[in-house]
């Protein structure tokens, strides 16, 4: 499998973040290159999700900066990040509970919708065409994720695993350049994890989307990622290819344990 790993697309420099007394992140730097699958691992409470939250502009780090395609930001702003093409899934499911699967995924395309309020209210000509165009794109994603049967079900009623899939669908709908995935495979059995891996790999292959992935299943991480960052209590203790990381003594001590 040949894949062109490109230039650095996302460069995290010296990020520190603390909440009151808790230092969630201290002086973290790492980068993500175009088209790669970059994993972030670490024990619970290491600061992985917080890292994504900083990139997304949900948290404002006290120190450090983040560069996207060479453009450096002190603080990210959620809207801006979305416009730049960064999408995200959530560890604790942040779906829009009252909406159907279709609407949830459609909402991922809202940034691309151009008609104004009045046109939308009248729903004539261009507004309707636009709606249909986006619907087509979303249907592709729905097919891809194999959730056709649940299209019109309110997401709140879906079992956990399918909700995770919808979450991914919503992120994909943004046609992102960078996709941040926070434990997308938690609560799934092997079969379902395989499906999920296939989705991630396909997206990565077909659209060249860069993927940043947090996952606790080492099998998955080691199999599909190109490079891995390891965090522990807010510090970075390892960075490199899966093999390098697997053999890094600090990482073994802090996270993997002896067995793996």
């Amino acid at each position: 499998m040949s894949k062109e790993i490109g230039d650095v697309i996302l460069d995290v420099k010296n990020i520190s973040l603390s909440f009151g007394g808790v230092k969630a992140l201290s002086d973290i730097s790492f980068n993500v290159k175009e088209h790669e699958i970059r994993a972030i691992i670490g024990p619970n409470g290491a600061g992985k999700s917080s890292m994504l939250n900083c990139i997304n502009g949900v948290y404002l780090p006290q120190q450090g900066s983040i560069a996207f395609r060479g453009q450096t930001f002190k603080h990210m702003n959620s809207h801006q990040v979305a416009v730049m093409g960064v999408a995200r899934t959530f560890q604790n499911l942040a779906l829009f509970k009252g909406m159907s699967v279709l609407d949830n995924i459609m909402s991922g395309r809202n940034l691309k919708i151009k008609s104004n309020l009045l046109l939308q209210a009248l729903r004539i000509g261009p507004a309707e065409k636009e709606e249909i165009r986006h619907r087509e794109a979303v249907e592709k994603i729905i097919d891809f994720l194999e959730i056709q049967a649940f299209r019109k079900t309110p997401v709140g009623q879906l079992p956990y695993g399918l909700q995770k899939r919808v979450d991914l669908g919503r992120a994909l709908a943004m046609e992102p350049q960078v996709l941040l995935l926070d434990e997308p495979m938690a609560g799934m059995n092997v079969e379902e994890k395989q499906d999920m891996c296939r989705f991630v790999l396909d997206v990565n292959d077909e659209f060249g989307t860069t993927v940043v992935l947090i996952e606790h299943d080492m099998g998955v991480v080691m199999d599909i990622s190109d490079r891995v960052v390891v965090l522990d209590y807010g510090r970075k203790i390892g960075d490199g290819t899966p093999d390098e990381v697997r053999n890094n003594p600090d990482v073994i001590k802090a996270y993997l344990g002896v067995e793996h």
Partner: protein, 269 residues
């Protein structure tokens, strides 16, 4: 299974959500005293629903058991409140953590001891939980909502242990936990099971782990039990291997190489 020491006997239950969505279509299972029983199955199979039915937490989800019976040590329990069940020693750890967001970790744990009255016992239990999960101790005064996903999972499990249960219903305990913690959680389960004779019924996606620690397993699929047997037997079943353990045909397949095409499960045929 010998039915002499069955603590929990679920027979033929049907569960309907919202008066229209039929989810469990006649599920029966038995949990013997002092054993660990696992319910396995894919997303939406009905594992959570089964556990909710047992612990009587369906009402809040607008679900109801419409057929069948559930017995705890010979007593019908369908009409007990969850609180009464806890007093009988049955505690559920809910899927998705459900920590009390505004309470600190320690307060969360303390509410778990609501049914306990002895101060010394509570203090001892608290120490035990902290010993099991040292991470919780360091975060004890942080509001639960502001702890990481894994910390919340530990908190939820610890909170259930505070009630000194004789039977625990664990819903996806390993979700979101780092591998060593998963290992630890299962060790704790084993520990409690062996030392304190706590019975466990656990719903798990991590089949590998579950079958390693459980005595007996049920596999559910779309609201039915499709297979059951001793854990060891299940672990060597071809289908189970392929679909739940990811080691079909001998070697473990890399996640990178899975094909879109998959064999159909035998029981679906």
């Amino acid at each position: 299974m010998s039915d002499s020491n069955i603590v929990l006997n679920v027979s033929g239950i049907e569960v309907i959500y919202n008066h229209v969505i039929l989810v469990l279509k006649g599920v029966s299972l038995q949990v013997p005293e002092g054993k660990i029983v696992a319910i396995l199955g894919g997303n939406g199979a009905g594992k959570t629903t089964t556990l909710r039915a047992i612990s009587n937490l369906l009402q809040g989800e607008r679900g109801a058991v419409t057929k069948g019976s559930i017995e705890l040590r010979g007593e019908r329990i369908e009409n007990l409140t969850p609180a009464e069940l806890v007093r009988r020693g049955v505690v559920q750890v809910m899927e998705g953590r459900h920590c009390f967001a505004h309470l600190t970790i320690e307060e969360n744990l303390m509410t778990g001891a609501y049914t306990r009255s002895s101060k010394t016992e509570i203090a001892a239990n608290l120490e035990k939980v902290y010993a099991y999960f040292p991470r919780l101790k360091t975060r004890r005064s942080s509001q639960a909502a502001y702890t990481s996903g894994g910390e919340q999972q530990m908190c939820a499990i610890g909170r259930a242990l505070m009630a000194n249960p004789s039977m625990v219903l664990l819903d996806e305990p390993s979700m979101g936990l780092a591998p060593q913690i998963v290992e630890e959680v299962f060790n704790i389960v084993q520990d409690l099971n062996q030392k304190e004779k706590v019975t466990f019924l656990l719903a798990e996606q991590n089949t590998n782990m579950a079958l390693r620690y459980a005595d007996y397993g049920y596999i559910m699929e779309s609201g039915r039990v499709v297979m059951d047997g001793a854990a060891a037997d299940l672990a060597s079943n071809e289908d189970v291997k392929e679909f739940y353990l990811g080691v079909g045909g001998g070697e473990r397949k890399s996640f990178k190489d899975v094909k879109s095409y998959k064999r159909r499960k035998r029981w679906l045929a």
